[in-house]
Symmetry: C2
Subunit: 199 residues, 2 copies
């Protein structure tokens, strides 16, 4: 039995932190996992900027509420879910994901949790496990499932390499050059066709 493991941001929805950076005009929040492979470092930097500018969880959630999935993402996901099983494996946080999952028809998502103070300040974050995406794909294998993975960023590489098939989607030139053996697609129709062939 197959499970397609999809990254969220950059694949199905725009980058949440970039949307928030644009809304708040904080240039430093535009760095993502596509630029910075060390997620702890990236998140530490983001939380420092939030603190400095006095933004709280509710401010980010207000921006997310207005975000929409990327054009064609819902139709792609609907077709995929009618064909096989899908789990979104994301390093985003459950406090961010909910309104986007509603717009995508409530696919299953495994992500992480923000630690939030009583006054709504984001004080930290709790990753589900070490190397979240790779660990999750390996756990699925232990449950007798075969995985097919797709993502756009550094933190997707290991789940892509450890799945029976894996694809970049709208990734950077740097990642394409570093992993020339991983097929890289720009359109949902191409990704869907590649997944169909791998099933």
């Amino acid at each position: 039995m197959n499970v397609v493991c999809l990254d969220l941001e950059g694949v199905l929805v725009p980058e949440i932190w970039i949307a928030f950076a644009e809304a708040t005009e904080i240039e430093g929040l535009k760095r993502t996992t596509r630029d910075e492979p060390d997620y702890d470092k990236l998140m530490g930097y983001r939380l420092k900027l939030l603190r400095e500018h006095g933004y709280k969880l509710a401010d980010i959630q207000a921006v997310i509420e207005k975000m929409d999935p990327m054009p064609g993402a819902k139709a792609f996901l609907d077709e995929l879910r009618a064909m096989t099983q899908v789990i979104i494996i994301s390093d985003t946080f459950s406090q961010f994901a909910k309104p986007l999952m509603a717009k995508l028809g409530w696919p299953t998502i495994f992500c992480n949790e923000l630690i939030v103070a009583e006054d709504g300040e984001v004080t930290g974050f709790q990753m589900r496990c070490e190397e979240t995406k790779l660990t999750t794909v390996r756990a699925l294998h232990e449950a007798g499932l075969e995985t097919i993975a797709s993502g756009d960023s550094y933190n997707d590489v290991q789940m892509i390499l450890h799945s029976k098939a894996g694809f970049f989607f709208r990734t950077t030139d740097a990642l394409k050059q570093e992993y020339p053996d991983v097929p890289a697609y720009e359109e949902y129709a191409e990704l869907l066709e590649a997944i169909k062939c791998a099933l």
Copy 2:
């Protein structure tokens, strides 16, 4: 992060084999995991009866196409999916599940595969792994997820006992007596409330 692991048949949809037994009037196909804890034995017996009566996969699928989720199941599942993550963990087969998943709004399901000959005869079955439900729940734990489980049958007991909370739903008196410490519910509202408290 929490994942609610739900059994399918008897919890969200009627028992598929019982529906087929009624449609075909084959009394022996009314045995389920509620009666027979040994799933290999039960499936061997079912496949033998199919062969004897000349029924093929398409005959079972035709009955499943006409089945509906249990009254209230879709609303229960919709509310649950808006609140937390859900995976249906079932010992049914992917060849059976699809029309029912469509009617439930495409929740994620982990199940097994039938082995089907070219002429459509069901010649065997392939379980995903040993002790499917317990193994899956343990794999989810390894991915840093906490589980809450519910089911009605013998094959649900281990995933219920190994989750941080677990509940029987519309189970037998025998199971209630054997596991008096597992709360047993009859209504979706009760199960939803118990899950909410465990989140």
